[in-house]
């Protein structure tokens, strides 16, 4: 039995991908492994669900640095004998990427891009990537100094984005300034100003083999949006244009592992404009599994060096919707996580 460590366990109003990744894995008919949860906060909701994870360990926040993470992972590995780690959060990925060879030396497998691949798909470098590989993307520039927000009236509306998280539309110069300040206060600089493309958003979840081949892709369109513009209800789609765009990107980057492509189909010219490349599983990845294609299980097979046996086709027209429910837990469990930084559910009542 393998022990698979998974991060990104928050399942709140903007859910992280960890819980759906775990559900994809554990609902696979061949699943015989165990899941070790890794969280940054004792109140990450998925970390409190003993039916989801066998144990949970708190990690130092990404800002604590790579050595702090390595030290913590070394300890967790001594207890848990981890076989694979699947990191699911944008902000933690640079540290995991940096440590991937050292983790491999410890016997822990990952299936992550190199630092160069990771940086090429960054929002900051999206224009350059698009130019290099001949795809469309909205014009983007960086704000690094709050006293130099050089947006003109004739550019409005624009999207204001954080480097890792947050995206807000601004219709006025006042709104631009307000969004820059609030996003910078949460996520720091640079803040990105991106040309607004009017059209419909399409998303694709993909897995690449790291040699330039797109192994699998699933498309999605949002049906219901949260107030943050996240998909609350989504439907699976099969769109050739979106699939071709994804293949072009995976091929150009020789991308290994999970990737989410976010694109807008312009109302004006009917072309796809790449707006973001997320270097991890999408939070809606359970929809792809429900439609017939289990990307996390495929990823796990690749990480373990197994032959890929997953079916790579899926159905369009499958709908998923988030719904909130309540998880009941004891204060003792939260206390254990807070004070000891870990909990083993097999040893708790």
């Amino acid at each position: 039995m393998y022990n698979i460590a998974i991060t990104g366990l928050n399942a709140g109003d903007t859910p992280a991908p960890g819980v759906p990744v775990i559900r994809c894995l554990t609902e696979h008919p061949d699943w015989a492994e165990s899941v070790c949860g890794m969280a940054y906060d004792a109140l990450e909701s998925g970390a409190l669900d003993r039916n989801l994870v066998s144990s949970v360990y708190l990690l130092p926040y990404p800002k604590s640095g790579r050595e702090a993470l390595l030290e913590r992972l070394t300890y967790i590995h001594e207890v848990e004998h981890l076989d694979v780690i699947i990191p699911n959060l944008d902000a933690e990925l640079p540290n995991f990427i940096y440590l991937r060879d050292r983790l491999a030396d410890m016997g822990i497998k990952t299936f992550l891009p190199s630092e160069e691949q990771f940086n090429r798909r960054s929002k900051v470098n999206l224009n350059k990537l698009a130019e290099d590989i001949g795809i469309n993307t909205p014009k983007t520039r960086l704000i690094t100094d709050p006293t130099h927000i050089d947006v003109r009236m004739d550019e409005l509306p624009v999207m204001v984005k954080g480097l890792y998280y947050e995206a807000k539309i601004a219709y006025t110069l006042d709104e631009v300034r307000h969004h820059v300040y609030t996003i910078a206060a949460m996520w720091g600089y640079p803040v990105l100003i991106q040309q607004f493309i009017e059209g419909e958003e399409y998303n694709a979840a993909a897995v690449g083999d790291g040699k330039g081949n797109l192994l699998a892709v699933a498309g999605m369109k949002k049906l219901v949006f949260t107030d943050k513009g996240k998909g609350w209800a989504c439907i699976s789609i099969i769109n050739e244009g979106l699939n071709q765009l994804t293949e072009q990107i995976v091929s150009a980057l020789s991308w290994p592992g999970a990737l989410e492509v976010e694109a807008i189909k312009s109302k004006k010219d009917g072309k796809f404009y790449l707006i973001e490349l997320n270097p991890r599983f999408a939070a809606w990845i359970y929809l792809a599994k429900a439609a017939g294609i289990n990307l996390p299980y495929l990823y796990l097979q690749l990480a373990l060096g197994r032959q890929v046996t997953e079916k790579l086709e899926y159905r369009s027209g499958v709908v998923f919707t988030n719904y909130t429910t309540n998880l009941i837990t004891d204060l003792d469990r939260i206390s254990t996580l807070f004070t000891e930084g870990e909990i083993n559910y097999a040893l708790t009542i």
Binding site: E200, K221, S236, I237, N239, S316, G317
Partner: protein, 85 residues
């Protein structure tokens, strides 16, 4: 009137009137007359045949039938389901 109906051929149409475009994820609804027209277009029927089907099934005159049919074509065109060529 000629159409490019390649999108139309991909549509999933349920008997209840729900129409799903698997490429764009767009969902439409239609009444029974619209369903009759879509089904006929998918099966390559000529416009005059479609008009006559409506006249027979809904007991309306040819003029009313044609007007409703072209209204519906206009909606299909603006939603990208068919394109005038």
């Amino acid at each position: 009137m000629d159409f490019d109906n390649s999108t139309l051929k991909e549509l999933a149409i349920s008997e209840s009137g729900l129409i799903f475009d698997p490429a764009s994820g767009t969902i439409y609804t239609s009444n029974s007359v619209g369903l009759l027209i879509l089904d006929a277009l998918k099966n390559g029927k000529e416009l005059i045949e479609i008009r006559n089907m409506i006249v027979r099934q809904y007991d309306v005159d040819e003029q009313t039938s044609e007007r409703d049919m072209y209204d519906f074509f206009s909606q299909l065109n603006s939603s990208g389901v068919i394109k005038h060529v």
